[in-house]
Symmetry: C2
Subunit: 224 residues, 2 copies
Amino acid sequence: MIELEAINRNFEVGEETVHALRDINLNIDAGEYISIMGPSGSGKSTLLNILGLLDQPNSGIYRFNGKAINQLAEDEQAQVRRENIGFVFQFFHLIPRLSAADNVALPLTLAGVEPDIRQQKTAAAMDALGIAERAQHRPDQLSGGQRQRVAIARAMITEPQLILADEPTGNLDRSSGSDVIEALEALNQKGITLIMVTHDPELGGRAMRRLKMDDGKIIGDHQS
Amino acid sequence: MIELEAINRNFEVGEETVHALRDINLNIDAGEYISIMGPSGSGKSTLLNILGLLDQPNSGIYRFNGKAINQLAEDEQAQVRRENIGFVFQFFHLIPRLSAADNVALPLTLAGVEPDIRQQKTAAAMDALGIAERAQHRPDQLSGGQRQRVAIARAMITEPQLILADEPTGNLDRSSGSDVIEALEALNQKGITLIMVTHDPELGGRAMRRLKMDDGKIIGDHQS
Ligand SMILES: Nc1ncnc2c1ncn2[C@@H]1O[C@H](COP(=O)(O)OP(=O)(O)OP(=O)(O)O)[C@@H](O)[C@H]1O
Ligand SMILES: Nc1ncnc2c1ncn2[C@@H]1O[C@H](COP(=O)(O)OP(=O)(O)OP(=O)(O)O)[C@@H](O)[C@H]1O
Ligand SMILES: [Mg+2]
Ligand SMILES: [Mg+2]
């Protein structure tokens, strides 16, 4: 489903070049459940952003379902992303002036799904994550972990082919965190490919395949 | 050092009232090391914001060093906050157009500390947290855990009497997280009062006193 071939990503800061991803090679089959762990600054979010078509590599090829996707035009990439990928950002990126419920429903709204179906799916997703009572609150009227769960519900709402989750339990207690993992794993059971960045070794260990990153490279790749 | 007496904090959302803090009574002595744990949405950040003079209770009294602080004028409270309290926010609140180093140095700059002393202290703090190499990066040029460490360095830089840390290791791997805890605990060893909200039971268990919150109340208060 996913092939990364000789992927490099650099950032320029003044005179300096940061090599955030160095010669990344990675194949991922449909339906896999993969965790990515590694030190702060090792390139995990950068890798996830490239996988999610939110960022472009400086060199190398990204094939998505056999198609060299990083070479498509911007609007074509945006379409592939909208139709296939759900993304939970490390810092959520919720829309400040929309309610929690409207934030969750946004991908359905963009896909033209009818209001009553949207309302039903949104209520079910927020219920599963324990945030139904906060449906009408705006993001600034939510706790940190409530915002995180809105971001997760939004990423899951269209049941996309691929879910990328960047530290989805970082602001959650044990109980809310396991509701989140249950919901994500249930989608993986239905065939959805799930790739999760985490600093929590217990969570990372639940995946069927575990990648370790360090200094822009994948240094470990283990099947459970 | 700190007395909270019958503290209540409500938020209005449309027709609804959220009772974020309900009848909180709490005494904290100078030099204590306290952790606060509890479910997502239980009021931990709200309590920390009131302790940090960033928010006002709807009723009740907050005495800081014997003085009824929540009844002072805004600019007087701001002065007490600037001179005595370091705050690590759950979502950092870094200044986007300043470099990491200038973000860290900001409390020293506001306190009128000379440039060479500022530079020395800033370098030492960033070094202790492993972010010296990113001194010239702006926040948007940092990883999540690097931003978190900038926020922590900033809160510690003036060695304030009281440090309030809202989930300071949420975006950090085990090794960077323990650098942070070492640095904070070293300040506590020097007599600084340290109050830390965390979802990590291992981290919470290191404190000398552990508070548990649920639904706006303190339901547990245990000495180690
Ligand atoms: N826009 C940018 N400009 C410059 N450098 C950047 C930029 N974004 C990231 N970096 C650098 O690239 C490296 C990788 O960043 P990335 O965000 O992928 O790390 P990470 O593994 O997700 O870390 P964390 O666990 O702290 O979230 C870091 O050292 C960071 O400082
Ligand atoms: N500005 C606001 N307006 C309305 N409700 C709010 C506001 N801020 C917080 N709340 C609500 O008050 C409750 C307590 O929020 P708080 O941020 O203190 O929780 P928390 O314990 O820090 O949670 P987390 O572990 O998720 O960070 C939550 O249920 C939240 O929805
Ligand atoms: Mg990251
Ligand atoms: Mg909070």
